[in-house]
């Protein structure tokens, strides 16, 4: 389990680093091409926009792991440890469910795109790029499911899940 988690984090890091690095290089190359050679790559702008979408999902999955999604969590911090665990269990279970719904409907969107043979970036199958939606949301669904299980354990033991000062939680 711990190994799985380490590998998962390494995979996330790799995806983030590759996407961000490629994005910087491609965007700068595009400026150089346009200003220096009178024209850029036709596919570059669309690819960059798709990379932003991928980065959005990859960043969200990583933010879920770090439990750093934007939230109003000041009130719940004031609760006693067991109350906190209960509140966290409810919110994490809800979030997991919503991510599950998102993943499922993104999957259906992908199927439609597959059936209609939608294309992007000059003829490549659109689902190659859209597949990040169901995968990303499914990973977040899993993450919040694990959080919810941990909250049950913490609730039974009565341990505090959040530090008393929220400063370190700042996004």
């Amino acid at each position: 389990m711990a190994r799985l988690s380490r590998w998962g984090k390494a995979a996330e890091d790799a995806v983030l680093v590759i996407l961000l690095g490629a994005m910087i290089l491609l965007a700068v190359a595009q400026i150089v091409m346009r200003n220096g050679f009178g024209g850029g790559f036709i596919w570059a702008d669309e690819t960059l926009r798709l990379m932003v979408l991928w980065l959005a999902l990859a960043g969200s999955v990583a933010a879920a792991r770090a439990d750093k999604h934007l939230a109003i969590n000041v009130l719940a911090r004031a609760l006693p440890p067991r109350g906190q665990s209960a509140a966290r269990f409810i919110t994490n279970a809800f979030t997991s469910g919503i991510c599950g719904l998102l993943a499922w409907h993104a999957w259906r969107f992908l199927q439609q795109s597959f059936e209609f043979e939608d294309t992007l970036v000059g003829g490549l199958p659109a689902w190659w790029f859209q597949v990040v939606l169901p995968v990303g949301f499914a990973l977040m669904c899993w993450r919040y499911f694990v959080f919810a299980l941990e909250d049950i354990v913490a609730g039974v033991r009565g341990t505090r899940r959040w530090p008393a000062t929220p400063g370190d939680q700042a996004p």
């Binding site: 965007a27 932003v52 980065l55 770090a66 999604h69 919503i98 700042a170």
Partner: protein, 419 residues
């Protein structure tokens, strides 16, 4: 409908991630209207149809990179060499350095952590009163939101579909007003205290300039490139990111190559958090606009106020309350599409609305009980939260006054624009 709203509100207050709340409310409305729920995924995918969005990850990464390097202390040394000779100089140095830095890092508490650690002890050593220092460093952390290329300015441009370079211009004078009013207050407070002044020396300035020679071109490249029409905003972001990467990792070697993945990851956590909220709210906003929420909002507002002035007053009160509860990014994405048409009816320029929105939301970082920067400062400087509340309070009042000026003096935001 009302019941589901209350349940979602309760869940939000318990600390549910906001993207899940927004997605949940979008799912619920789609379900009620008999729309295929896969439409939410389609709306989310339209994130890939916004070219300017590219600027968000790139500027954020550049800001995080700069904050991890020695750039903050170089910036302080430079401003100190330039302004340290005058009484109250160090206080003004702190304000200016924080504003400059926040413009690049996007007001996410990074400024307090990166610069506060340098400025807080320096102010104390220079003989400023303790409580003043705490208040100054805490409130300066969100200063600079109105200066290019801050993330909230870009996000407002995206959400409101207004040109981002216009917003960059519009923020200059209002940002200066905030800075000047806080500087004035700092001079007034520190007038009696004994400070060690650093005499002005050309040598010191030259040394500080030389030391910062690599970072100084950055604002010129960003703003010059955009206004000369050489780059689009997203391209300026790409250049900034690559430049910061080459300088801090390659030339100055202040950031080890091995530390890079960690910094990339940290910065992308924030980007992922913002973009997922933007993605799901594209869906929820569309359905709210289809359901005529802005019209109903307008009807309700026009029952309360009938002039532009009274509308702005109502708006200001609303934004101050909103800012105390919600972070600036979520508030922008959720609320701007709904109030934009209402403000237009009262003849409020959308660019001015943006500046007012950000200026008022900036106060939210400092408003008790939940202002984020109050907590970050309390954590960072190991002070109790009530101490931070009372130290920040005078600054909050000054900033509030500056927001009132910015709100009721639209020319301040619009003077550089040809409209």
């Amino acid at each position: 409908m009302i019941l589901s709203g209350i349940i979602l509100l309760l869940l939000a207050l318990l600390g549910t991630p906001l993207f899940a709340i927004i997605a949940g409310s979008a799912f619920w409305s789609y379900y009620q209207e008999d729309i295929d729920l896969a439409a939410l995924a389609i709306e989310f995918f339209s994130l890939a149809e916004m070219p300017v969005l590219l600027a968000i990850p790139l500027f954020t990464f550049a800001g995080y990179l700069l904050s991890e390097s020695e750039a903050p202390s170089r910036l302080v040394r430079l401003t100190q060499a330039l302004l340290g000779w005058m009484p109250g100089g160090l206080a003004i140095v702190s304000l200016a350095a924080c504003a400059f830095f926040t413009a690049f890092t996007g007001a996410s508490g990074v400024t307090i952590i990166a610069l506060g650690a340098i400025l807080y002890p320096a102010l104390k050593q220079a003989g400023y009163p303790e409580k003043f220092n705490l208040g100054l460093v805490t409130s300066a952390g969100s200063l600079g939101l109105l200066f290019a290329p801050s993330l909230p300015l870009i996000l407002y441009g995206i959400v409101a579909r207004e040109p981002i370079d216009d917003l960059f211009l519009a923020g200059i004078l209002p940002g200066m007003v905030m800075l000047a009013m806080l500087a004035g207050w700092s001079l007034w407070v520190s007038r009696g205290s004994k400070q060690e002044l650093i005499p002005f020396s050309g040598k010191r300035v030259a040394a500080a300039l030389k030391e910062s020679a690599w970072e100084l071109p950055l604002p010129i490249v960003v703003l010059g490139g955009i206004y000369s029409g050489y780059f689009a905003v997203s391209e300026a972001a790409a250049v900034t990111a690559l430049y910061a990467l080459i300088v801090e990792v390659g030339i100055l070697r202040e950031i080890k190559f091995s530390a890079l993945p960690g910094i990339m990851r940290e910065s992308m956590l924030l980007v992922g958090g913002i973009l997922i909220i933007l993605g799901v709210s594209l869906a929820s906003t569309n359905i709210m606009i289809d359901a005529g929420v802005p019209q109903r909002l307008l009807e309700w507002v026009s029952g309360l106020v009938d002039s532009k002035i009274s509308f702005l007053l109502l708006l200001l009160v609303f934004l101050l309350i909103l800012g105390a509860i919600l972070d600036i990014f979520s508030a922008l994405v959720l609320v701007v599409p709904l109030i934009l048409p209402v403000a237009a009816q009262y003849g409020v320029d959308p660019i001015h609305l943006g500046i007012v929105f950000l200026a008022a939301m900036q106060l939210g970082y400092l408003t008790p009980p939940v202002g984020l920067n109050l907590f970050i400062a309390s954590y960072r400087f190991e002070r109790s939260i009530t101490e931070v509340y009372s130290a920040t309070f005078p600054f909050l009042i000054i900033l509030l006054a500056s927001v009132v000026v910015i709100t009721f003096w639209p020319q301040l935001s619009l003077v550089f624009l040809s409209r």
